[in-house]
Every structure is written in C-alpha cells, then in structure tokens.
C-alpha cells in the first residue's frame, strides 16, 4: 500500500512539464540511438551524460533512463531492416528478424519487436516496483564490510558468468580499480599516481572520460571499420491494415513474451549478465521449448519476440541493484550511478528514504516511458528507417565531435578531451584483442566506493581482515563470490579430465 502511495507521488513528479518533456525527448533520442548500427544505450548515455548537468538530478535521470529504455526498443529496427544489430543487446533479434524482413514481413517483425519490448518493459517495471522497496530496506543493515563484499560479488560475476577470457577480465577489473585511485587519496588527502606530474591528474580520472573514450571513440572506430562494407536495406512496405494483421498474429506469442520477460529481468539483475546474454538466453529457451525448433532462424516470429521482451526486461532489472544496493547491473547503469554521484546523490538503500521523489519519479517515468516509446516506435518507424540511410561516415564524425565537446563540458578543461582520445585509441586496440570493456567501466565507477569501504572496515577492525568473512551477511556474499571465482577453474579442470578420459578411451579402443 505504501508503495502505491509512493508510486502515485512519483507520477506527480514524472508528469511535471520539464520531466515529461525530458522523458519524451529521451525516448525519441533513445530510439534513434538504438536504431543506429553500433550505437546502443551505453554509448548514448555516456555521450549525453555531461549535458544533463544543467537540469535537476531527477530530470537528468529521467532523461537518461528514457534513452536507456528507448535504445532497447530501437535496437530491433536495424537488426530487422539491415541485419546488423543496432546494439549488442539486439544481436539475437537479427536471427529471425532479418529472415522475416527478407520474406517481405519486415513490418510484422517491427510490430512484434515493439510489442514484445513493451510487454518486457512493463512486466519488469512492475517487478521492480515490488522488489525494490523491500530490498532497499534490507540493505539498510549493510555496513562497510557488506558493501565491500557486494562489490567483490559484482566483480566475481564477471569472472564466473561473463563468458570472456578470464585473465583478461581480471586484468580489466583491476585496471579500472587502479585508474579510479588516481588523484587525491580520499582518506589521507595525499596525491597519488600523478603521471608525468601533469596537474590534470590531481583531480583524478573521471569515469565519464573513460566511458566516452571507450564507448564513444573506441567503439565508433570499431563500427566504422565494420560498417565500411556496404549494407543492404531490406525491402519494406508499411500499411495500417498489415499492422493490424501483425497484432493479430502476435496473440500466439503472449506466452513467449511473458516467460522471456521474467527470464530477462532476473538475468538483468546480475551485474555481469545484463541485456545481451538475457536476450540470447531467452531466444535459446524459446527455441528449446518450441514444438518446431527448425523454424527458428528462418523467420519465426517468436524468435523476434523472445529476445526483444528479454532485453527490455533486463535493462530494468539492471536498475534494481543499482538503485537499492548501489551496485550497477550493467555498464549503462554503472554510468548512471557515476552520474548520480556527481549530482550529489548517494546511491544505495538510503536513496529510498532520503530522496523518495528521485526514486519514485524515476520509477513512474519508466511506466510512462514504456507507453511513450511503444507509441513513438510504431508511429515513427518510417522516420527511423529513413535515418538508417544516413551514411555512417557523416554520423561518425559528428559523434566524435559530440564526444569531445561533451567530455570537455563537466570540468571545462582541455585535459579531459585529450584523455578521451588516449582511452579511445587504447580501448579500440584492446577491444580488437577481446579485452572486455564492461568490467573496466564498472570498476572505475565502483573503485572509490570499494576502496573506501575496504579501508573503513579495516580501520574499524584494526586490520583484522577476517571481518569480511565473520560477519554473516558479508561472509555469505564473500563465499558466493569465491564460488564464482572458482567456478571457471572447476569447469576447466572438468574439461581437461574429460579430454584425458576421451584420449584414454580412444587409446584402449585402438
């Protein structure tokens, strides 16, 4: 009941003219950003975060969350029309979306994607509303050791579930944490890691600079390279009658939508997983449960519905740990979390008690954003398809310029644009070798918080590091984290044993 009252108050905040306008603008920009091949929510949020500092925090988060949300819808558009995922989160949508478009059913696929996104988004916002307040209340009991243990757990999920090369993942986590330590020490005030005595490093390396460098410059370089080859737009026709037919056809997909939404939501809550694996898992699950799995990959409508419902649900799922525990569930929410710190908010459970208008305004705006985005998506499909024709060689330089101007804006010093260039170039080269970028961004955002809670715990306990294991909550969290660290080692060991057994078996047979 209390939640409902909060939610109604939240709607009052979300429907203030400025917030409503920002939400609509965000949805539209998000759709457009998501639709562009190679650009996803994380790029949009990283590049546009600096310019939100002119509006109040609630408006800023509503704007950015709307972009985040819209991008999940928009990603499907280029997956279907061009066969290139609009963002990594829409990879699974290409499997059946592109064949559908080739069969002249692009409009059916687009309607299915938009509707599934809407269902996924709505179910997950409801789940969010139900779970967030109790989780936040529970988290109020956390002290520094628990906070530190949770962050260790967040990093451990990247190692256990991230699916990237493990030494490279560990390297990137540590790298992000060390980069976050550059500048004045938060506890003693001493300057440290001031490279080449450049005064710019005294104030530290902002996570925005790193995120823009990696997701703005590095990823653009990467996309430019890939988009260099010509892509072909699927033929399409759009008529109202066909759209009505498309809706009718979707009746058979309701079960898929709902199941994928739940799956996506819970995968999204995990820090390392998020929308991309969530949508791939939903696709796999739907295919496995189908009576006719052979139809998948050849233009099956459920193959579009499942990943689209799941990626939207996952994106809301990622907001849950970010708002209640202060642990982001995805790189995009990591950037949002960093933004909140700059806006002067303390992420974590206290947010629900101290800043209810922020939390509930955001939640209410998510409900509203769902309606706005699905309507815009279907209404403006021709516009987004037209935008896809914009050559990447015009779009890319404009984005480069926006990155540097946006990176300059928060602190207004040229040091930051130069740093963005360095991170962009290094990030591009590292990405080519499959060094994962998400743990790096998460680590630079969480780094100062992790160091603070680590040192506070040790100071309070006079250096007794067993405190992380003897307090019940942090002990359990640490054990789960340890399990996630060891899980890949266990897998490798089993694989090696299986291979040896197979070799022995082969030897005996010969």
């Amino acid at each position: 009941m209390e939640t409902l009252i909060h939610l109604i108050e939240g709607f009052a905040v979300a429907f203030e003219p400025l917030n409503l306008g920002l939400m609509l603008l965000g949805c539209f920009l998000g759709l457009a950003i998501g639709a562009m091949p190679g650009l996803g929510s994380v790029n949009g949020v990283a590049i546009l975060l600096p310019i939100t500092f002119v509006v109040p925090p609630t408006g800023a988060i509503i704007f950015l969350a709307a972009i985040y949300y819209g991008a999940m819808y928009g990603g499907a558009i280029s997956s279907i029309m061009l066969g290139i995922p609009g963002a990594s989160t829409a990879v699974a949508t290409t499997f059946d979306g592109r064949p559908m478009a080739n069969q002249g059913r692009a409009d059916y696929a687009l309607v299915a994607a938009a509707t599934a996104s809407f269902v996924g988004g709505t179910i997950s916002v409801i789940l969010f509303t139900l779970f967030a307040p109790p989780l936040a209340e529970f988290a109020l009991r956390f002290g520094p050791p628990e906070e530190f243990a949770l962050m260790v757990l967040a990093f451990a999920t990247f190692i256990g579930l991230g699916g990237d090369d493990i030494p490279k993942t560990i390297f990137m986590i540590l790298f992000g944490l060390v980069l976050s330590a550059v500048g004045l020490d938060i506890i003693s005030g001493r300057p440290r890691l001031v490279f080449f005595d450049l005064p710019g490093f005294y104030s530290g390396i902002s996570f925005i600079v790193l995120a823009i460098g990696i997701y703005g410059i590095g990823e653009m370089l990467w996309t430019l390279e890939i988009a260099g080859g010509k892509v072909e737009m699927a033929k399409h026709q759009i008529a109202l009658k066909r759209i009505a037919d498309a809706f009718r056809e979707l009746k058979g997909s309701i079960k898929t939508m709902v199941l994928s939404s739940f799956l996506g939501y819970f995968v999204g809550v995990l820090p390392a997983a998020g929308a991309t694996p969530g949508s791939l898992m939903a696709y796999g699950m739907t295919k496995a449960m189908s009576n006719d799995p052979d139809r998948y990959g050849k233009g099956e409508i459920n193959g579009v519905v499942a990943p689209e419902a799941a990626n939207n649900a996952a994106s809301t799922g990622a907001l849950l740990p970010m708002l209640t525990l202060g642990i982001p569930g995805s790189p995009t929410t990591a950037i949002l979390l960093g933004g909140m710190i700059i806006w002067g908010l303390t992420p974590g459970p206290l947010l629900f008690t101290n800043q209810p208008e922020f939390v509930w305004g955001l939640t209410a705006s998510l409900y509203a954003a769902n309606f706005a985005t699905v309507a815009m998506n279907i209404a403006f499909v021709p516009l987004f398809i037209w935008m896809l024709r914009m050559p990447f060689t015009i779009l890319a330089p404009i984005i480069f310029v926006l990155c540097f101007v946006g990176g300059f804006a928060p602190d207004q010093r040229m040091f930051d644009p130069w740093l963005i260039l360095v991170f962009g170039v290094v990030g591009y080269l590292m990405r080519k070798l499959d060094y994962p970028m998400a743990p790096l961004v998460l680590a630079i955002v969480l780094g100062p918080l992790a160091e603070k809670s680590f040192r506070q715990s040790l100071i309070a306990e006079q250096g007794d590091w067993t405190v992380f294991f003897t307090r019940p909550l942090s002990g359990i969290t640490m054990l789960i984290a340890l399990g996630l660290f060891l899980y890949p080692i266990h897998l490798a060991w089993r694989r090696r044993r299986a291979r040896r057994l197979a070799e022995q078996g082969g030897g005996a047979g010969a």
Binding site: T393, I394, W418
Partner: protein, 168 residues
Amino acid sequence: MRRAELVMAAALGLFSLYLMYMSQIPPLEIGWVRLKGPGSGAFPFWLSLGMLISSAVIFVRGWRRITPQSQSEEPFLNPYALKLFATTSLAIFAMLFLTAYVSAYVAIFLFLLFFIRFIGRHAWPTSLAVSVLFPVAVFFLFESGMKILLPKGYIEPLFYPLYRMFVY
C-alpha cells in the same frame, strides 16, 4: 594477431610495473600504517601487482596458443582498418591540437570537412553543409543554451559580438 596479443600483454605488464612504482613513491605507503589503516598507496599497489600477474598469465596463454587471438592467422589490423584508424586518430589529434589556437569551432569545422569529404567521400555541398551547420548548432546548444564556453584560442575577440547577442 598473435604478435599483437603478445605485444599488448607485455605492454600492459610494463604499465602495471610502472603503476606499482608510482604507488610506492614516498610518502605513499603500501603497508599498514599504525592507527590509520592501509596506506594511501596500498590499494593501487596491490591491485597493480594483480594486473602484472594477470598480464603475465595472458602472455603465457598467448605464447602457448590457448587464446583464440593467438591462434588466429588474420592480421591484427588489415590495411583498410589500419588506414582508417590512423587517419581518424590523427584527424582527431589535429582537431584537439588546433582547438587551443584557432577555437574549438574552427577546429570542428575543419575536422568535419576533412572527415566527410575525404574519408567519407561525400560530395562537397553535403560536406560543407554539415561541417558549417553542426558547429553552429554546438554553439547554440553549449554556449547560449548551457553557458558552457568552449576554448576560442587566439580568435576569442571575434566572438565578443556573438556573446553579447546570444550568451549574456
């Protein structure tokens, strides 16, 4: 690709060593300081040691051809990618460098014109239109909208009348 994998791992290892060196320069302490907890350098020092170990593992795995990159025969950057990467980075470098002298706006104009006309090979009218209109839009969004002044270098006086009209 294999050579790139090994070179990158080695470079990252050296960088980790540099970070470790930086973290223990006095007065930074990497151990326990009585009554104050871990020293200021402890957090970055021990984590950099972890980075050094990880990069060593990456190197060894690359050496033993365990990672997919170290098995790949493809070049790390094919000639097309190399050319694109080099021209783009240099163009951005030039843009940032020029910003300090001839204002962000002229630098952005030159960068866009170069990129769209010579890398994108679009027609002159398109190239000129985008590279003139975009800086104008940036001016209105940043300077008159958000009151964020971009660097103007030596041509700042030319902007005084614009400031009077649109900014203040």
